[in-house]
């Protein structure tokens, strides 16, 4: 699904990613863990096509296609979704209106007409139910005055609506209490399928109790220094990151 080869990237002249290799197949869930400043969010931004970051070497392939020449919205149209660590507020634009705009923009890119209102409403209801979202929430301004948990749930709601081929969840667990965490994780699990793939970026092992990864990678100083199965996450939880630094 997504292949990253020897990826180097910099922001404002500072090299953050120093040679990442990653191969995520359809149907898989990968977790990327690592201490602060190791490059986890940068990796997410680079894959999503944020032009604040410059790829200086290596490439990213989605279903075998090089993404280098695609801007952020084209990558989205190709099926890349990023659940933001800090979702932005757009005052005056309701959650419903935003998702409608996004869905129709993606449909347009595929040469389809706008989704009929009735179909859209049905889908919204179905996905809202999946994530335990009530209808009042849908008419609120996007992320404005949302709690941390509401923001993250809204991200996963958008993912559910857009049904991306490849999703990166950037610290979706941060700021969530245990109930919200369960709802979000449950949502992700239900969306998981044999035709899509998910990369979960997280600081803590906690989320991985609910979203069980097939592979765990440890990122440190811009490189993946260790890969393993879910047991690696438990090991990190028990021993911290210090021993990882020695591997680098």
């Amino acid at each position: 699904m997504l292949t990253i080869e020897n990826l180097h990237a910099q922001v404002e002249g500072k090299t953050i990613l120093k040679g990442i290799d990653l191969d995520v197949k359809a149907g898989e869930v990968h977790a990327i863990m690592g201490p602060n400043g190791s490059g986890k969010s940068t990796l997410a931004s680079v894959v999503a096509g944020n032009e604040d970051y410059e790829v200086i070497k290596g490439k990213i392939l989605l279903k075998g296609n090089d993404l280098a020449d695609l801007d952020a919205e084209s990558r989205a149209h190709e099926g890349i979704f990023l659940s933001f660590q800090y979702p932005v507020e757009i005052p005056g634009v309701s959650v419903t209106n935003f998702i409608k705009t996004a869905i129709n923009a993606n449909r347009k890119a595929q040469g389809l007409k706008d989704m009929p209102a009735s179909e859209l409403l049905k889908k919204i209801r179905e996905k809202a139910k999946l994530l335990d979202i009530d209808s009042k929430f849908l008419s609120r301004s996007l992320n404005e005055g949302f709690s941390g948990g509401e923001k993250k749930r809204n991200e996963i709601f958008q993912m559910a609506m857009l049904e991306p081929a490849f999703a990166i969840l950037d610290e979706t667990d941060s700021g969530l209490d245990i109930d919200a965490l369960k709802i979000v994780a449950n949502g992700v699990n239900k969306l998981k399928g044999k035709d899509n793939a998910v990369v979960v970026i997280t600081h803590y092992q906690r989320l991985l109790d609910y979203i069980v990864p097939d592979f765990v990678h440890v990122l440190f100083d811009g490189k993946i220094v260790k890969s393993g199965t879910k047991e690696l996450a438990h090991e990190l939880e028990a021993k911290g990151y210090d021993w990882i630094k020695e591997l680098a």
Partner: protein, 481 residues
């Protein structure tokens, strides 16, 4: 693609005025210049009674002693008022009974603007009194309105057919000597609209007028008078577009509203005069005086979406004379390129328990300057007056300016006046967020701007809100920083 400042600037500069076309209709135009003779000629041409001619001449004599005001936060070359022709009317004179009689080219013009009269008639139930270059060309639905006793016609017709009403009310809210441009308008106005809603009548449809400057070099001086008699209600829509012209065109309208006891007037404007080219050349000067008088328990709401004009100078105001009267002002003002807008409102609280609300949304892009100027005044005898003002500014790029000049004069210690103001910028993080969801940058800006303006857009009648949204998008395509 994420936009750099440079790319944005370029894109902004290449945005052309979409409604910049010119209709070739033969016109009957006066020689340039202004003097008593010209005023007599205008009055004569329009077949006005003597009192009207005298009223104009009085206004002219005030005006000739006045100075053009300079206090607004705008800079422009003062128009040479002696180089303007003060009368221009399409040649095909007599009024049209139906659309078949209207010049097809004119209808084509309206179609280009997306204003299909037929559609307007059928779909929205809007009666349209279209003013093209100062003379009404088509008036519709008049009979339906007449059944309710509602008068909706051009001001010229009103002067002929309802002189008692015009004579009684014209200039009572905005006296000819009120200000330089109001005085000029009073002297030379060539047409405009008149509306009278009788006691207890709720006007069954939105009354709508589309204005348009059509002839090169003619200033347009519209005069509108709306009278809502006791316990009546009317919603009035005014929309403007102008063709692209090289020289500056002066627009100095006067709008007077009178709400009698328990009456309500909603006055909505979508203004899209030609704003000038990307270098700041040309464009309409829009120096407008709009004011409403509220009697006991009456209410006047001004809603405006201002996207056009090179220079705007406009303060739709309410005089809250009657006890328990209400004044509202909802405004979206968009400036791009070299546009300058100095706009806001005045809420004058004179009666007891009067209330006013001001919601102003300023959006600045390019090298434009956007100022809010508002006065909330509470007279010494006005008990328990309340005002709430909110002024929000949205900036795009680093070369534009947003300014707020709120004036508060509370002479009664029972007054309650609140003012809130915010300034924000469309962030690259907002754009990237939208891009990541598959929404392109233009659409993202439209979305953010519409969200920012929502409180005001919601105040517009439905069919007008759609048009206003379209205008916002056209005016701001590609602008972010």
């Amino acid at each position: 693609m994420a936009y750099t400042e440079e790319e944005l600037k370029k894109e902004l500069e290449t945005k052309e005025y979409e409604y910049g076309f010119y209709t070739d209709i033969e016109s009957d135009t006066f020689p340039v210049g202004l003097n008593e003779d010209i005023i007599r000629k205008i009055s004569h041409k329009k077949g006005e009674p003597d009192w009207m001619t005298e009223w104009r001449l009085d206004a002219y004599s005030y005006w000739s002693k006045m100075e053009e005001p300079e206090w607004a936060n705008v800079q422009y070359k003062k128009p040479d008022l002696q180089a303007i022709s003060y009368y221009s009317a399409p040649k095909q004179k007599p009024k049209y009974k139906n659309l078949d009689e209207v010049d097809p080219e004119l209808l084509d013009t309206f179609n280009k603007l997306g204003i299909s009269i037929e559609e307007q008639k059928k779909l929205s139930g809007v009666a349209v009194d279209i003013v093209v270059d100062s003379v009404s060309v088509a008036t519709t639905f008049r009979e339906t309105l007449a059944e309710k006793g509602i008068i909706f016609c051009s001001i010229s017709e009103a002067i002929k057919d309802h002189p008692e009403l015009v004579k009684k009310y014209i200039g009572t809210v905005i006296p000819p000597k009120d200000n330089y441009y109001a005085a000029l308008n009073s002297a030379v106005f060539t047409d405009g609209s008149f509306c009278y809603i009788p006691k207890g009548v709720k006007c069954p449809m939105e009354l709508s007028t589309y204005f348009r400057i059509n002839q090169a070099g003619t200033g347009q001086f519209e005069r509108t008078l709306v009278i809502a008699d006791e316990s009546s209600y009317v919603s009035y829509l005014e929309g403007c577009t102008a063709p692209s012209r090289d020289e500056n065109q002066l627009h100095a309208a006067v709008v007077e509203l009178i709400a009698m006891d328990d009456a309500e007037i909603k006055y909505s404007t979508v203004q899209n005069w030609y704003p000038g080219d990307k270098k700041g050349k040309g464009g309409v000067y829009n120096f407008v005086t709009k004011r409403g008088l509220c009697n006991t328990r009456s209410k006047i709401s001004w809603t405006q979406v201002e996207t056009g004009s090179a220079v705007t100078w406009k303060y739709p105001s309410c005089i809250l004379k009657g006890d328990y009267s209400i004044g509202e002002f909802y405004s979206i003002a968009v400036t791009n390129n070299f546009q300058q807008a100095d706009t806001g409102t005045k809420m004058i609280h004179l009666g007891n328990n009067t209330r006013s609300t001001i919601i102003s949304k300023g959006i600045s892009a390019g090298k434009s300057q956007n100022s809010y100027r508002g006065l909330v005044k509470v007279g010494p005898r006005a008990k328990n007056a309340r005002n709430f003002s909110q002024c929000d500014s949205l900036l795009m790029g680093n070369n534009c300016g947003a300014h707020t000049f709120p004036y508060i004069e509370a002479k009664s210690n029972t007054a309650h006046v609140e003012h809130e103001a915010t300034t924000s910028k469309i962030g690259e993080d907002q754009i990237f967020y939208c891009n990541q969801r598959g929404i392109d940058t233009e659409k993202a800006i439209a979305l953010i701007v519409n969200g920012f303006s929502k409180e005001v857009l919601n105040k517009l009648p439905m069919e007008f809100a759609v048009e206003a949204q379209k205008l916002l998008e056209i005016s701001l395509e590609g602008s972010v920083g």
